[in-house]
Amino acid sequence: MDFGSINPVVLLASLMVASTPILLAALGEMVTEKSGVLNLGVEGMMIFGAVCGFIAAIETQSPTMGFVAAAAGGAALSMLFGLLTQIFLTTQVPAGLALTLLGTGLASLLGQNYQGMSPPRMPDMNIPVLENIPVIGPVIFQHDAIVYLSLIMVVVIWAFLKFTRAGLILRAVGENHTAAHALGYKVKAVRFAAIGFGGAMAGLGGAYISLVRVPQWTDGITAGIGWIALAIVVFASWRAGRVLIGAYLFGGITVLQLNLQAAGAKVPVELLSMSPFLATILVLVVISARRHGATSAPAMLGRIFHTS
């Protein structure tokens, strides 16, 4: 294979941009699932966040406000899911699917008048000194704030789940809600918080597509990224570090295969097009097969909890 004409530095830089939406959404979903809730509405929350962020950014001319609105929008939509599954005790799978349908439709409706507009540009936040390191500098330290935020969130979520008391409670609720309830923890409140966090992160991920990566608004702009994020959470066996690997692998190979095509590599296009899916699944399965296997799913995932 001819990698000669592909500049790895440029490739890595665009890899990070392409992976960020998946990473954000997958991290949020991971926290939601850790609390025992399976929210299949990631795609809906992403696209809703994308349109909320886009509208806010246009109206205020501030990309920051856009991202704030996107997080709020995603969280608001996820609250609907919370209401359905935690208060009215509906089954989580159809409720999540309904959320995706609703989010897609709602986003399309809201975005009608914002077609073809250009949002204000998100400024790159180059980190002084570090950006001048040869090779690594341009790859890692010359991006916009959201890329850094997504990387920081990986560490924060990992530390939160592993070292903090609140993280322990969240995991307890996800592993055995009856026991957690008996100990006096508010299962529903914890789950609402986790669902809301997942929604906000999905919203951020969506807005990253509509404000930075593309950046414009069109119907169906997330194009199934939410489903990839869902799959990555499972294949990453609910670990923040592996979610990062999965998201970067998927985004990276997507970018790499396009670069290979553009560079005229003699590899069949069909193979290149499926390579992101194949490689991501393969690597994550191999990683998680080494220990524990697939048993690492939160025990209460998708189960309904009611106090009686």
Partner: protein
């Protein structure tokens, strides 16, 4: 018994009335449109939609429009068409290549409903096909690309490896090469008509590879925005003018002009003269328009492109005129020979000088 006679009489008089005053009794002609993308995608689907609206305005109350957007190319399309036919559509325009077999299938079940399939090649007594000779416009794009590139690298964002797209690739490459023998073209296949994120990534990948002119055969405006961010990259509007991205990066465009055709065909349904057809018109007949060449293009290049457009339009020059070899070096067209429509309609090979393989 009385009641039945009364009903019969009423029905008979209604029929008589209907026969006597057809213009009063005639329902509006119901026209269906099926789009592959959202009808505000800024490109292909939006242009079909706008042409439908022009047609609707032309006929006023005489027609009723039903539209269905973002219909996937597959079994779903068959369901949507069946639904439209069952709800009384008189003519249905299916506006994407991938609806071809579905259109033929559904048409067989509804012999009284007329179907018009865009860019396909299968016809039936109640299925007509229509397409535009986009490759004529691609020739002009190639001409401009050959002159404008500084790195001698041109990129082409391909959607699906179907003849229409391959013709576009060949035509643009042929004319770029004529103007600039050093030019190389990279094709990236996306296997989608509309996916802004993927299109943006593809454009970015090309720009990362040093490509400075990007042609697209996908429908969103995402490549234009990516090029705009990058700076010194030129693009062309696809299906719609995309003038909002001019004068840089968009330096010209291919515009589809469907409205006259829609008006003509719906009129034929109203008149009862509709027959299956196979329309394939180009710049000359006004089905393909070349968008304003922007100020970023030097005056002499612009003049050359306009002269090329004029000679294609008048029929004096055919974009596929020999000598042209196939990719493997074998002769396709001898000196002065012109490609026939049959070969063009089924084109499945690259011409000499293009690298890579067409996915089968």
């Amino acid at each position: 018994m009385k009641r039945r006679t009364l009903l019969t009489a009423a029905a008979a008089s209604a029929l008589a009335l209907g026969a006597a005053f057809p213009s009063f009794a005639a329902d509006p002609v119901k026209v269906g449109f099926i789009y592959v993308g959202p009808k505000n995608d800024g490109g292909w689907s939006q242009h079909h939609h706008e042409a439908a609206m022009v047609m609707a305005e032309h006929f006023g109350d005489a027609v009723e429009i039903v539209e269905q957007e973002s219909v996937p190319e597959g079994p779903d399309a068959e369901r949507v068409m069946t639904q439209m036919a069952l709800s009384g559509a008189d003519i249905i325009f299916t506006t994407s290549f991938g609806y071809m077999d579905q259109t033929i299938n559904v048409a067989a079940k509804f012999p009284d409903v007329k179907f018009e399939h865009a860019t396909g090649y299968k016809t039936a007594p109640n299925v007509g096909v229509y397409s535009a000779r986009f490759y004529e416009g691609r020739a002009v794009e190639g001409y401009l690309a050959g002159h404008m590139t500084k790195s001698n690298k041109i990129g082409y964002i391909g959607s699906f490896p179907i003849p229409e797209v391959i013709r576009g690739i060949n035509s643009s490459f042929l004319h770029a090469k004529k103007e600039n023998p050093d030019v190389e073209m990279s094709v990236v296949w996306l296997n989608t008509w509309f996916d802004p994120a993927k299109e943006a990534d593809a454009a970015q990948a090309m720009i990362d590879q040093g490509i400075d002119v990007v042609l697209q055969h996908t429908d969103s405006t995402a490549p234009q925005i990516t090029a705009q961010k990058a700076g010194n990259v030129y693009t062309f509007g696809q299906a719609a003018d995309m003038a909002e991205f001019g004068p840089m990066p968009r330096i010209s465009s291919i515009i589809d002009e469907w409205a006259p055709y829609y008006i003509e065909r719906v009129q034929a349904v109203i008149d009862g003269t509709w027959e299956s057809d196979n329309t394939w018109d180009g710049i000359g007949a006004g089905m393909v328009g070349i968008g304003e060449i922007s100020s970023a293009v030097p005056a002499d290049v612009k003049a050359g492109a306009e002269a090329l457009t004029a000679s294609i339009s008048s029929g004096e020059y055919h974009p596929f005129t020999g000598p042209i070899n196939k990719q493997d070096g074998s002769v396709w067209l001898a000196e002065g020979e012109v490609a026939d429509d049959g070969t063009l309609a089924g084109m499945n090979f690259y011409i000499e000088g293009l690298t890579g393989e067409i996915p089968q």
